[in-house]
């Protein structure tokens, strides 16, 4: 008679093997559509980025040509031709435009400081009056903050506005609002949207990097900022790099 015990053991082994095979086939069948979808979507995004790269390249050529014509003396400008990536598209930084924007609020501040200095210089104000003035200033600042925070529908309103206008500034405001709300995923997303719409928005780079850092992706944040700094020599970017490095963010 056959050694059935031994044969039974071999049969169990065979069954386990066939079941594993069956299971893997089923898994492949289930996962195959997902795989195809992934490949398809990946292929599409690369295709889109290729197209945007091409169009951006054309824009780059135009934008880069301008500073060459305008300030032929600046040899350092040639270094700024480097492509900088925040999203899959290639952002081009218009340095002059950026500097102008940076100068603008500085002027404003200087005006107000001038006023304060004037008040101080007059020396006709008493210590109390100075305190009142300072208090007023503080109140003004508080009001500003309260204005932003008291509006519960701020983000919703901004979202609606953005839907209508597709304005990069609004996207940036949304990024800022989310960053203040400590919703760093959303702030990262919106700073990227803002940057996609306008590569020259420095704040979009900074908020994006800050959000990344807050999400624990310090290395990525530093990489983005240093490449941005290389191209723009932005002092804010440098300061932020230092902050991230010192882990104060």
């Amino acid at each position: 008679m056959i050694n059935t015990k031994e044969l039974e053991k071999r049969w169990y082994k065979y069954k386990a093997k066939t079941f594993t095979l069956f299971l893997s086939v089923v898994m492949v069948i289930i996962l195959l559509p997902y795989l195809f979808y992934y490949i398809y979507s990946h292929f599409n995004t690369t295709k889109e980025s290729d197209i945007s790269r091409k169009s951006d390249f054309n824009q780059t050529a135009k934008v880069v040509a301008k500073p060459k014509e305008q300030s032929g003396i600046n040899n350092s400008n040639s270094l700024k031709k480097e492509k900088l990536l925040l999203s899959p598209t290639i952002p081009v930084i218009d340095i002059d435009n950026e500097n102008r924007k940076r100068e603008y609020p500085v002027k404003k501040i200087s005006k107000s400081t001038k006023k304060l200095i004037k008040a101080k210089k007059s020396a006709t104000l008493s210590a109390q009056e100075l305190a009142i003035i300072n208090g007023k200033d503080l109140k003004k600042e508080k009001k500003k903050i309260n204005f932003q925070h008291s509006n519960a529908n701020y983000i919703e309103v901004m979202l609606q506005k953005f839907k209508q206008n597709k304005n990069p500034r609004e996207a940036l405001l949304l990024a800022k609002a989310y960053y203040q709300k400590k919703d760093y995923i959303e702030s990262e997303k919106w700073s990227l949207i803002a940057n996609n719409l306008n590569k020259n928005l420095e704040e979009s780079w900074l908020i994006f990097a800050k959000s990344k850092a807050k999400l624990g992706k310090r290395r990525e944040a530093l990489k983005i900022l240093s490449s941005y700094y290389k191209t723009t020599q932005s002092s804010q970017a440098k300061a932020l790099i230092e902050k991230i490095k010192s882990r104060s963010i």
Partner: protein, 270 residues
């Protein structure tokens, strides 16, 4: 303590006894063709096919059916010595016993046959002729030329030699009947008839089409392989019946046992 499965497994022991012959449509066709060929003025008839396709069984069945009607002799085992072969032919034809120290002269045998032309027709059934030497085969051919002796020979060859062998016989204008492995349907009939002949109707009915398909997929419809497979199956059944009867359902053919037998015979691997 005995099990009914012991008896069942013995049904599938590979034999060529005519009582175990199972008539299938394909087999019946081949048998009729062979019987018809015997009435034609052909000198030799070749039953050709791969091992286990039922050549010996057909030959045995032919002998059993015709032994009372015609002068027919069946050599089930090949006689490899030429001396012994000629002696056996002469003894069968003359009915005389040749002593051990004497031999039959081939020319004398030829003359003996020629003298009987038109008076007698003797049929010899030779199995496993691939074992005969070419010289002996040539002598068989010369004997058949006398038209007194008719030979039905079976031959099996390996895959590469199939065509060569068939061509060899075709050029000599012999009747060639090729036996092939049976279809799934014929195999089902073969198994069920075998079981029913011995009264195991319930067991025969418990074998489903799916089981037959499984058996056919591994045996390719070869009778010898099928017998071996079923013998192993019922051998395992016997063990369970005697020692672990809870593991078998008498009304249902066990797929587990089928697969175990397939593993045992190396059809599937664990």
């Amino acid at each position: 303590m005995t099990s009914k499965y012991k008896e069942i497994k013995h049904i599938f022991i590979d034999t060529v006894e005519s009582q175990n012959y199972v008539e299938l449509d394909s087999m019946k066709h081949n048998y009729d063709l062979l019987a018809e060929s015997l009435d034609k003025p052909l000198k030799m008839i070749l039953l050709f096919g791969r091992p286990g396709t039922g050549k010996s069984m057909t030959l045995n069945k032919l002998y059993t059916n015709l032994k009372d009607k015609r002068e027919i002799h069946y050599f089930d085992a090949p006689i490899l010595s030429e001396k012994e072969f000629l002696k056996s032919i002469y003894e069968a034809m003359s009915g005389q016993h040749i002593p051990q120290n004497m031999r039959v002269n081939f020319d004398g045998l030829l003359k003996y046959c020629q003298k009987m032309r038109g008076k007698r027709e003797v049929i010899f059934l030779l199995d496993e002729c691939q074992l005969y030497s070419e010289a002996l085969m040539e002598k068989i051919r010369l004997l058949s030329d006398t038209r007194v002796v008719k030979f039905v020979i079976t031959l099996h060859k390996t895959e590469n030699e199939d065509i060569i062998a068939k061509e060899h016989f075709k050029t000599r204008i012999w009747e060639v009947i090729e036996l092939k492995n049976v279809s799934e349907e014929d195999l089902a009939v073969f198994i069920q008839k075998k079981l029913m002949q011995k009264g195991f109707v319930e067991v025969a009915n418990s074998i489903s089409k799916r089981d037959i398909k499984f058996i056919h997929s591994h045996t390719k419809g070869n009778f010898r392989e099928t017998n071996k497979f079923l013998y192993t199956i019922f051998n395992i059944y016997e063990y369970y019946d005697l020692y672990e009867p809870k593991k078998i359902d008498p009304n249902r053919f066990s797929k587990k046992i089928l697969e175990m037998a397939a593993i045992k015979l190396g059809y599937i691997h664990d």
